[in-house]
Each structure stands twice: as structure tokens, then as C-alpha cells.
Symmetry: C2
Subunit: 248 residues, 2 copies
């Protein structure tokens, strides 16, 4: 066995964050449907930064100052905003080099919860392998924070969290001790051959299907379409340049 194994654990919702934090250096925030998938897509496609804010009011303040602002609540674009959290909106070539302010139901709340950690990076199924490889390279304790749905457990974030745990443990450089991490890894392994079909019954899939957002769902559930790792720096999410964080 590898001698100096680091912990990788999963927290199912921002509400549980205080029970898990403390012993971790790096936090991976996940909101597969759709905030963190959209952030990955945007940063990969040349956005300068995404500025995550908790409330609609804060997003509106930025908008008044001339920022491009996006806001989503309950799966829908909030009235008065340029767009919501559809990854396709974030891939618009017109956004290249721009900063976009974003407020969503779950994802940006989770990012705000994670702010107190040393390093906060953005995870999705889209950047799964690139992110996992980078985490293994860092070899520091990792907490994967699922955004969930309004503080509740959700399946798609758990599957993505389980995929990261699985990859890190396979490297033999990491171990998990929490039951949440064991469950997430187990659910991922059961789902991985067909995540789209596994999630058919999930509550958020149903919610987005009602809103005719199946194309978004397909995009978000496709692993490894991106090699981009978005990272939080001074309140804005930017592209990680692959220097070692540890040596900063």
C-alpha cells in the first residue's frame, strides 16, 4: 500500500459542509445540472472569468455596472438577465475574453460555501479525467462538495463525486473513510456505463425534461469533453494554469 495516502471524501450538500470541512486543502464543487458544467464550458471556450454570486440582487448590481450577468432559479432564466446556466449560452463566441456574473439555485451557493478552503476548483462530468489527474498530481486532501438540490442530496452530483473518488482511489495515493464517499463511489460504478439512463428517474432530470432542456442534460452528462480546470481566485473563477498550486 502507498504509504502517505491522502483523504478524498464526499459531502452531499452545502448544508453538511461544516461537518466535513476542516481537514481538507482542496474543495471540488460540483453542480452537474448545470452550473459547474456551464462554467467549465465557458472557461474552456475562452471566457475570461465567471464571477459567482449568491443572490439575484448581487447579480443585478453587477449588471447595472455593465457586466454581463446570468441568473437561474428552479431551472429557468431569471427575468431581466442575459441567460441562465445553459452550457450552450456560456459557449457563445461573443463571450470570449469577457467576465460573466452568475447566480444559480444551487451551484453558486455551493461555491460560496466552499470559499473558505485553500483551493476551490470546479468539477463536472465534462472535465472529469483532467480534473482527477490534476488532483492526483497535487496529492493533498480533497473534499468533493456536491451542490445538491436546495440543500438536499441529488443523484447526478453524487455520481460525478463518486467518479472522482474512484479515480483518486485507483491511483492508490488516496483513501476514503466516510460512508458518503463509499456510497458515491458505489453509485458511480453502477451508473457509469449509462449515466443518462441511470438518471432517468432522478428528480432533476424530470424537472429539466419538463422545461425541454434535454439537450443541456445530454451535454452535461457526457464525460471528458473538456480538459479545462476552472479555479476560484480572488472571487472569480478563471482557467487554472497548470503550475503546481502547492508551490505558489
Amino acid at each position: 500500500m502507498y504509504k502517505n495516502q491522502q483523504l478524498v471524501e464526499v459531502c452531499f450538500s452545502p448544508r453538511q459542509f461544516d461537518l466535513y470541512k476542516g481537514q481538507f486543502d482542496i474543495c471540488v464543487v460540483i453542480d452537474v445540472l448545470r452550473a459547474t458544467s456551464a462554467i467549465c464550458a465557458g472557461i474552456e471556450n475562452g471566457l475570461n472569468s465567471v464571477i459567482p454570486v449568491a443572490t439575484i440582487e448581487e447579480a443585478a448590481e453587477y449588471q447595472k455596472k455593465g457586466y454581463i450577468a446570468a441568473a437561474e432559479r428552479n431551472g429557468e432564466v431569471v427575468e431581466g438577465f442575459d441567460f441562465g446556466n445553459s452550457p450552450f449560452a456560456f459557449m457563445d463566441p461573443k463571450l470570449k475574453g469577457k467576465d460573466v456574473v452568475l447566480s444559480t439555485t444551487n451551484g453558486t451557493q455551493a461555491i460560496n460555501t466552499a470559499r473558505e478552503m485553500d483551493v476551490v476548483v470546479i468539477g463536472s462530468l465534462n472535465n472529469l479525467n483532467a480534473l482527477s489527474d490534476w488532483l492526483i498530481e497535487q496529492h493533498r486532501p480533497v473534499l468533493v462538495l456536491a451542490s445538491g438540490w436546495k440543500d438536499k442530496f441529488n443523484l447526478e452530483d453524487t455520481i460525478c463525486a463518486g467518479a472522482i473518488v474512484d479515480a483518486l482511489i485507483e491511483s492508490h495515493k488516496f483513501k476514503s473513510e466516510e460512508d458518503s464517499s463509499i456510497a458515491a463511489k458505489f453509485i458511480y460504478r453502477s451508473a457509469k456505463e449509462n449515466i443518462f439512463s441511470f438518471l432517468k428517474a432522478s428528480s432533476h432530470r424530470r424537472r429539466l425534461r419538463r422545461l425541454n432542456l434535454n439537450e443541456d442534460v445530454k451535454f452535461c452528462l457526457t464525460p471528458n469533453t473538456s480538459t479545462c480546470i476552472p479555479i476560484l481566485k480572488d472571487g472569480a473563477i478563471v482557467k487554472l494554469e497548470h503550475e503546481k498550486i502547492a508551490t505558489q
Copy 2:
């Protein structure tokens, strides 16, 4: 499809209870290792009642008044108390007809959290089929509350909760909409052929193995050794007499 399906959902920890409550009539509290298994064993074996209290201090107060009092923290009997939450202690023939005050790390906290619901019953793997059959008979919305470990998710309570969801949904009289319930059912179905081995990696199994409590674990993980349904009445857990709750 059955026309008037009722909800059965799973809440992974007392900390999440307020997010789920509200729309349910019956709460099933589960702490497989070991509080609710011990309560089932005690009531099945002739205890008059178990009085659940949150703190060690309350348990000590009852003890001063002459009650038999049991208290467990972190898997161990609290000094000065008659016993902890081992099911075998609750099956002692000398306890027949007696009332036992109990305070544990997780289970009695969860029971206290659930108190505000119309009906609170005690679930374990030991009384799985009897309890599920009774719940189906009631045909009212059911919330299964896992006690977890210090407000965190745990695997053994999730498996038991999933087993109840599975049985209720199989009756076609119930449905689940929450992702937590879907995940619990899925984990139960994967684990059910050999729960003991499935839980080998779980955090609480490790904890109890260190304390030489493997016999307790085996007892608690054996389904359907009891037909007893303990129910909370006026602050004490007593044996449910099989009248219909709905007609009370």
C-alpha cells in the same frame, strides 16, 4: 397504476429533517447500529417501554428517580449507567415489564427530532417485513428518517431505509420522488444478498469492530427476526397494538 399512491421518502440525517418533513404523516426512525435494533429487541422481549432522552444529564435524572437507565456515546457504555445500546442487554429477562430510559449518540436524537410528526415508529432490519406490511396497510405518507452518524450520512441506516422504500413501492400503493429515496432503494437492492459483507468497509462497522462488538453487528444486520413494531406514545416507546392508527 394504483390511483392514490402515497409518498415514501428517505431523509439521510436528522440535520436534513426540516427539508423533508411537512408532507408526511408517519415517520420511521432507523438506527440499525444499534439503538433502534435494541429498542425492537427490548419491546419484543417484554419491556414495558423505552423512554428516549437526548442528553446524558436527562438519563441521569431519571436514574436518580429510580429508573433503569442506559446510555451510549461513540459506541461505548457511558460510565455510571446500567448498559448502553447492545440489543442483548435489552433482551435480559429481568427487564420484563420494566421501563428503560435510553440516551444514545444518534438514535435517540433522531427520535426526538421526529417527535413533531403525527406517528413515530421504530424501524430496524430486525422488524423489516412486519413494519413494511403495517406501513402498506396504513397507506399514509411515510418519511423514513435515518439517524446517521453525528448528523452525517451512514450506510447501514440507508440500506434499511431503502429496504422499506423497496417494499412499499412493490405494493404499488407508494411512490418516491426524492433522489435520496431512489439512491437508498438502489443501495439496498445491491446489498441485500449479503448486507454484512456489503458493510465491511463502512465507517461504523470499523468503529464497532474495534470495540469487539461483532456479535451485536451480526444481530442487528439480520432481517426479520422480530414482528414487533415499537411506537412513540406520550414520550415513551411502547409496543404497537395492531389497531389502525388512522381510526384513533
